[in-house]
Amino acid sequence: MHLTDDNIFRVTESVWTLILGLELQRSGPPEPDRGTERTLLGSVQIAGAWEGAGQVQCPASLARRAAATMFGVAPEAVERDQIQDALGELANMIVGNLKAFLPQPSRLSLPTVVDGVGYTVRIPGSSREVARVTMRSGGEPLVVVVHTRSTPHRATPLERAARS
């Protein structure tokens, strides 16, 4: 079994429904960012038999709603660092569960969160996007992206066998 858009959706949905109790649907690509909206991006690296990263991206308003549920407070009452923390943990759970569809063993990094307007993100090293799934929760977009790191030196099957 490997990483398909369907698997990514199911994993994200299980986190979204079990932890947040919010509904989630597949959708087409979001309208292009006008570069004015505050967006959060939570990122978790995977290292081991598979190397890459998973990212979870959504507008600050959706991240705020998610944080409100996790902290059990009203959305207006949520502070900025709480929103970042919440998205980091959601990314940790989503990417952590995606790992089940990738070659093992591998380990997760701690999540990092970028929060701002019109930024671009670079993954360290050269990398290639292998999946991008767009969903909607309460009308707002949620995007999960998976990158694989194309390392300059590719291990041969023999080397890989020797390592494990």
Partner: protein
């Protein structure tokens, strides 16, 4: 009954802490393994610790090993709550002395049922 919730995410500590409070525990929070060892020293009567795996400073596995090396905490039940769900990793945690393992994401029922397995249905249950 005292319980520790050890996770670097404040959101996760809030969720787990809330569930344990509802079950009747007095909850002490810690942000990583090292912090947790310090809190534990101040809370010797703690019966339960829910511990994340991936944390800065000292991770959950190192925390479990440290606790299990100390006779003073023999009665402490350790439950890993983590997104690391590889079977080999679970086995490692259990061998190191964890009593139970919860895979994230989880629900209230999952936590309550795991505590039931450990005979810690909750002081108020």
């Amino acid at each position: 009954m005292d319980a520790l919730v050890i996770d670097d995410s404040r959101a996760m500590r809030t969720i787990l802490g809330g569930m344990l409070t509802d079950l009747g525990f007095r909850v002490v929070q810690a942000t990583d393994g090292r912090d947790a060892l310090a809190r534990l020293a101040e809370t010797p009567a703690a019966r339960l610790a829910l511990v994340d795996w991936n944390m800065p400073e000292m991770d959950g596995l190192a925390f479990i090993r440290a606790v299990r090396a100390d006779r003073a905490y023999e009665g402490l039940k350790l439950v890993v709550v983590s997104t690391e769900t590889e079977q080999a990793q679970m086995a490692t945690a259990l061998e190191a002395g964890a009593d139970e393992y919860v895979m994230k994401p989880f629900t209230r029922a999952v936590i309550a049922e795991k505590l039931g397995l450990l005979g810690l249905a909750g002081p108020s249950a």
